[in-house]
Structure formats: structure tokens, C-alpha cells
């Protein structure tokens, strides 16, 4: 196939590993710390261990692809005996059975990307019963750290919303009308990213009016459709906050099809940091992208190593997400996923 279409990334998610690597923030690590003894897990050498990874959603969006790939790569690098992977396909009951299945198959250490903050308790209990440590990544669960699970690695979604608000305020000058393209209803990520954004706007730029909040279900076509409706009924909108890149790109398409200049007539800020979005940013079609870094592999395995080496692991290991803007987009493209 010649260049009539192009895959989102030329070099898939491995990308520029160095540029895209996660960094923890010292201030972000919090909590008392959890060690092998306090957790009560048996000592283990990762090299002879069976490690299980439970992914929450289909590997059909860049974030999930990059996340799973990163875990797989790092597992290979760490030389674990066997890596089991499962995918809950957005079904919470399936994630519970997935985890139970992996335990039944002899998993000794689990990395879980939870589908939801609540409701995984039976899975955690099953792991605890077998004294298998669980490391949760990317989405925090409402459970007892160091009891139900070992520790949480990931971003702070509320903060992502706040940073998006800051970027929006900067792009619009703190006034005008903005629309929010919400993620899927009932989802914690949606709730947090909305809360951060709305609160920050209220606090910092009361003149920036939020005139529409409609769900685009984290999908590009839905985002496009909602945006098209808004363009017609609320032509005064000058800013769009999309809770993920896909919906942001949908908004870009919608605006272009309606002869409006995305990035100029309507400012667009989104969250994720996918390569497509950063490219759009570089072209000036978007205004800012708040990163949510999916490459948890290295950090997760490093944490596991530390844990088995006897070091206490903090309850939350928060990572620093970058922020792309029109200036740094071009050069940061390598770090996008």
C-alpha cells in the first residue's frame, strides 16, 4: 500500500522510548510504604516468576496498545518466565474472571489496569488469598493499599483536567464559550477529568463559560457528531475541551468540514498525547495536549524488583505527565504514542 493512508505511527508504540519514558515525581509518591513483610508475600525472583497482566479495554486505541506493548516489552527485558495477558474488553465481570483465571493458571505477580475504580474487590481478594501481589496501573482503585493491592502507578486524572483548563484559559484568554466533549458516562476517568477542568475554570477564569457538556464516548466519530451539532446550534463556541485525543480529533474534522479553522476559530485542548493529536498540534489545528503516559512497563517492573528486593513501595507512585503545545509539538513527536 502506498501513501494513500498512513498508519497512525510509523514505528508503532515503541516509538522513541527514551523520549516517551515515564518519570515519577518525587512529590508524587506518597503514603507510608509497603514492603514485602508488611504485605506478606513470598519472596520471588522475577526471572522464574509467572507474571499476569490484566488489560481493561481492547487494544484498539493508542493508549491501550502502547500500555500493553510496554508491559510485554519490559517483561521480555526483565526475562520473566512467563507473561500471561488478558483483556477484559471493557467488561468489569470479565476483568474479575480474567484475574481469577490467571491466578488459577499460576500467576505469581499481577499487574492490573483496572477498568473501574470500584468493583474489583473479588479479584483482589482472590489474589490476596494466594498471597499474590497486585500492582495497579493507570487508574486508581478505591481499596486498601498494601492490603488489597500493592501500590498504584499512574497519573492524576483530576490534575490532567486542571492542566487542560490552564491550557484552555491560556489559549482563549480566559473568556468566551467552551464546550466539553465528555468521555463515556459513568466512567471515573470522565468524572475526574471533568471535575478538574470545571473547578479550575470556575476558580481561575469565571468569564470562560462552559456552554455544553456532551458525551462523545471517547470515540472519534461520536466526538465529530456532537461537535457538528454544537457548531450549528452554538456558533459562539470558541473553545473545545476533549477528554481524550480521539474526540479532539473528531472535533477538528467537524470544524474543518464546516469551514472553520480548528486551533484558531475554535481552540482545542485534549488529554492523552497520542501521535495523531501531537501532529495536529504541530499543524496548529489543536492548541494543547495534556499527556497521559501509558508506558508503564519499565516503572512497573522496576517497582516489582524493588519490592522483592525488600524496599518499601509507596502507596501512590504518580508520574509526571508532559504537556504538548504548538511550540514543542514538532520536537516532542517522538515521545508521543
Amino acid at each position: 500500500a502506498s501513501g494513500c493512508s498512513k498508519p497512525e505511527t510509523a514505528d508503532t508504540s515503541k516509538g522513541d522510548a527514551a523520549a516517551g519514558a515515564q518519570a515519577t515525581r518525587p512529590a508524587g509518591t506518597s503514603g507510608k510504604g509497603c514492603s514485602l513483610e508488611t504485605y506478606g508475600a513470598p519472596r520471588l525472583d522475577l526471572k522464574d516468576a509467572v507474571v499476569g497482566f490484566s488489560q481493561s479495554e481492547k487494544e484498539a486505541n493508542p493508549f491501550r496498545i502502547a500500555e500493553t506493548q510496554s508491559i510485554k516489552d519490559e517483561a521480555a527485558k526483565a526475562g520473566v518466565k512467563k507473561l500471561l495477558t488478558t483483556n477484559a474488553q471493557s467488561q468489569l465481570p470479565k476483568q474479575i474472571s480474567d484475574i481469577q483465571d490467571m491466578l488459577a493458571q499460576g500467576a505469581q505477580f499481577l499487574i492490573v489496569a483496572p477498568l473501574n475504580s470500584d468493583g474489583l474487590e473479588p479479584a483482589f481478594k482472590a489474589a490476596a488469598a494466594k498471597k499474590v501481589p497486585v500492582l495497579t496501573i493507570d487508574r486508581k482503585v478505591n481499596a486498601e493499599a498494601c492490603e488489597d493491592y500493592l501500590s498504584f502507578l499512574g497519573s492524576d486524572f483530576v490534575e490532567q483536567g486542571e492542566r487542560a483548563a490552564d491550557a484552555m484559559i491560556e489559549a482563549t484568554g480566559g473568556k468566551g464559550e467552551v464546550a466539553i466533549l465528555l468521555g463515556a458516562s459513568g466512567n471515573n476517568v470522565t468524572t475526574d477529568r471533568t471535575k478538574g477542568f470545571v473547578d479550575r475554570v470556575k476558580e481561575k477564569a469565571p468569564d470562560l463559560r462552559i456552554v455544553a457538556q456532551q458525551t462523545g464516548e471517547f470515540a472519534r466519530d461520536k466526538g465529530q457528531q456532537v461537535m457538528e451539532q454544537l457548531i450549528q446550534s452554538k456558533p459562539g463556541i470558541t473553545g473545545v475541551y476533549a477528554e481524550n485525543d480521539e474526540m479532539g480529533l473528531g472535533a477538528v474534522t467537524a470544524l474543518k468540514a464546516n469551514n472553520k479553522k480548528p486551533g484558531e476559530d475554535v481552540k482545542i485542548v485534549s488529554v492523552d498525547g497520542t501521535r495523531n493529536a501531537v501532529q495536529a498540534l504541530a499543524k496548529g489545528e489543536m492548541n494543547a495536549v495534556i499527556e497521559s503516559n501509558p508506558r508503564f512497563g519499565p516503572l512497573a517492573f522496576a517497582t516489582a524488583e524493588k519490592f522483592y528486593a525488600g524496599e518499601p513501595i509507596p502507596e501512590n507512585v504518580l508520574i509526571t505527565d508532559r504537556e504538548y503545545d504548538q511550540e514543542n509539538a514538532e520536537e516532542s513527536l517522538g515521545g508521543a504514542y
Partner: protein, 338 residues
């Protein structure tokens, strides 16, 4: 008997007793006739919703906005047309969303050879999914819902495998113009949907195949004994449905400027079935209402647009949608004469 029955065609003697009942019921005014509502209920509902929006929604009656609604509803209409045919045979096709995804996934793979080969291939993929469904239903004899469930589950997986799980930006100008171009101010997408609606209406009303669809749905056993090619009709209907879905997938992809097999067409089966049923085609088969189906799709589109434009939160929007659907179907419901 007044006369021997005439066996030869030709002008026969006047009927011995009038074939039609002489005592036909006095016509009721249309607004008091339940049958009228049953026949035109969807259109009434569409009218009411249009009126509501014209009065209470800002900038609703603008060309731009109306065009947007038509453009958005076009893929649903196309899929629903195929679905209406399937439902006419007392079947159902859950795999339409997957067929859309398959078409979308195949497009970028073959765009390198030009738009036409890629298009043909995408449509062919839809036809093949339909063929599989059709064979499972007509030859193997599975219940349609299970037969199409397999591709509903597996088809999208296959699409994702083909696309390597990711969305691909489309930059082929020909394909893109399919999504954005318009003819005499009407977007091509809308024209395609409208043309297809007319074609299907003609198919159902005036072709042997169309009438056979309805007969198979109305009484399968009788159709078999009347020598109709029941298996062929069933298979054909699913092939058409799959092909239409693939076409919708192509158009949606062109409009999205990206091939997105992971989310394109999700829940399309529900939207399409809803459009068909709201449009007055019974799920029990035996009749196909093409224009009703189009109206049903438009009704649901307007409903969604209304809720978005009034910026209702999701909770309220869903409850309102539920209430309005029930109300609309209630006007159009079949009243049994008793």
C-alpha cells in the same frame, strides 16, 4: 349457478355477486381513524419533533443544521434499509456494525491500488459477511440472532486484526471528497442514502425478489410450498444487508477522514433495528416499510440532536429519549380491531 365458470381469460361476464362488500364501512375522518395513525404515526412524530425544534431550539431551521442532520443520519438510513429487508423475512442481523468496521479496515489497505478497487473490496467484504450469515440462516437453519451473533463478535475482531488494532488517517483525496462533496448543495452521502432508499422501495414494491421477501417473512411454510426459492431469498437478503452496511462503513470512514474499526458502527445494529421498528415494520416479518424506516431513522436522529442542542445531561437525555420513543411507538401502534 347463473353461469359456468369461465376458464379462458378474457372479458368474463359480470360477477354473479359483487366481489367487494356492498356495505363498506362509512369512512371515519382521518384524525379519528386509528389505522391512519398506525400508517403515518412516524411521520407525525417527526413533524412534532420538527415543530418543537423550530419553536424552542436556536438556529434549528437553518440549511446548515438541517444538512448536518441529514448527513449524520445517512449511514444509519443505509444500514437500516438492509436491516428492514432482513426483518421483513422475520430475521435480524446483529453483525452490521462489524461489517461496517470490516469495510473501514479494508479500505486503507487497498487504497494504494486506487479508490475503485478499494471500494469494491470493502463492499465485497460486506457481501461476504452477509453470505456467511445467510448460509447459516437458510441452509444450516440457525436462528438469525445466533447466526449473526458470531460475526457480531468475531467480525470486529477480524477488522481490528486487519487494521492492526489502530486507526488510520485517510489521505486519499477521492475518498475524502466522497465524504465532503456535494451535488447541487446536497451532500453526496445524503444523495447516496436517498437513492438507495428509492431503490429499496422499488425493490420491495415492484420486483419479484421484493415480494418474495415479504412472502417468506409472512409465512415461511406457505412460501416453501408455493415453490418460492426460500433459501435464495434469505441468503440474498443477508448479502444485501451486509453490503449496505459495508457501504455505510465506507461513507462514514470518508466523513471521519479516518478508518476507525474499533469504534465505527458500534451499536449500529440497535440504531438500525430501532429505525426499522419505529418506522412501522414488525419484527415478526411479512412486511417492509421503506419510507417508514427512513422516517424512523430521521426521528431518532432528530431526537438525539434535540437532546444535544439543549445540552441535557446524559441521565436526563436518556430518560427523555426513553419516554419519547415509547410515546412515538404508542401513536403508531397497531390497534387490533375487535
Amino acid at each position: 349457478m347463473t353461469q359456468a365458470p369461465a376458464t379462458a381469460p378474457g372479458p368474463a361476464a359480470p360477477p354473479a355477486s359483487a366481489p367487494s362488500s356492498p356495505a363498506a364501512g362509512r369512512a371515519r375522518p382521518w384524525y379519528r381513524d386509528p389505522a391512519w395513525y398506525q400508517a403515518y404515526g412516524v411521520y407525525v412524530a417527526v413533524g412534532v419533533l420538527l415543530l418543537f425544534n423550530a419553536l424552542f431550539t436556536d438556529r434549528f431551521l437553518t440549511t446548515g443544521n438541517l444538512t448536518t442532520q441529514l448527513v449524520q443520519v445517512a449511514p444509519v438510513v443505509i444500514v437500516a434499509l438492509g436491516m428492514a429487508l432482513v426483518i421483513g423475512t422475520e430475521g435480524v442481523d446483529l453483525s452490521v456494525g462489524s461489517a461496517m468496521a470490516l469495510a473501514a479496515a479494508l479500505l486503507p489497505l487497498y487504497l494504494g491500488h486506487g479508490l475503485v478497487p478499494a471500494l469494491v473490496l470493502a463492499l465485497l467484504a460486506g457481501a461476504v459477511t452477509g453470505l456467511v450469515n445467510g448460509v447459516l440462516v437458510s441452509v444450516v437453519g440457525l436462528q438469525p440472532i445466533v447466526a449473526t451473533l458470531a460475526l457480531f463478535v468475531g467480525g470486529r475482531g477480524l477488522a481490528l486484526v486487519l487494521a492492526d488494532g489502530r486507526l488510520k488517517q485517510i489521505i486519499n483525496p477521492d475518498l475524502l471528497s466522497l465524504g465532503t462533496a456535494s451535488l447541487l448543495g446536497v451532500p453526496v452521502v445524503v444523495l447516496v442514502a436517498a437513492g438507495l432508499a428509492l431503490a429499496v422501495a422499488f425493490l420491495v414494491a415492484r420486483t419479484t425478489f421484493g415480494r418474495q421477501i415479504v412472502a417468506v417473512g409472512g409465512n415461511r411454510e406457505a412460501a416453501v410450498l408455493a415453490g418460492l426459492p426460500v433459501k435464495r431469498v434469505l441468503t440474498g437478503v443477508y448479502v444485501l444487508c451486509g453490503t449496505f452496511a459495508a457501504l455505510a462503513g465506507v461513507l462514514a470512514t470518508a466523513r471521519l477522514t479516518a478508518s476507525d474499526p474499533s469504534s465505527l458502527g458500534t451499536l449500529m445494529e440497535l440504531s438500525a433495528i430501532t429505525a426499522v421498528v419505529v418506522g412501522g415494520t414488525p419484527l415478526s416479518g411479512g412486511s417492509v416499510r421503506v419510507l417508514g424506516t427512513v422516517a424512523g431513522a430521521v426521528l431518532m436522529q432528530l431526537l438525539r440532536a434535540t437532546l444535544v442542542k439543549h445540552d441535557l445531561p446524559d441521565s436526563t437525555a436518556q430518560i427523555a429519549q426513553a419516554a419519547i420513543i415509547v410515546a412515538a411507538v404508542h401513536i403508531a401502534r397497531e390497534r387490533r380491531s375487535r
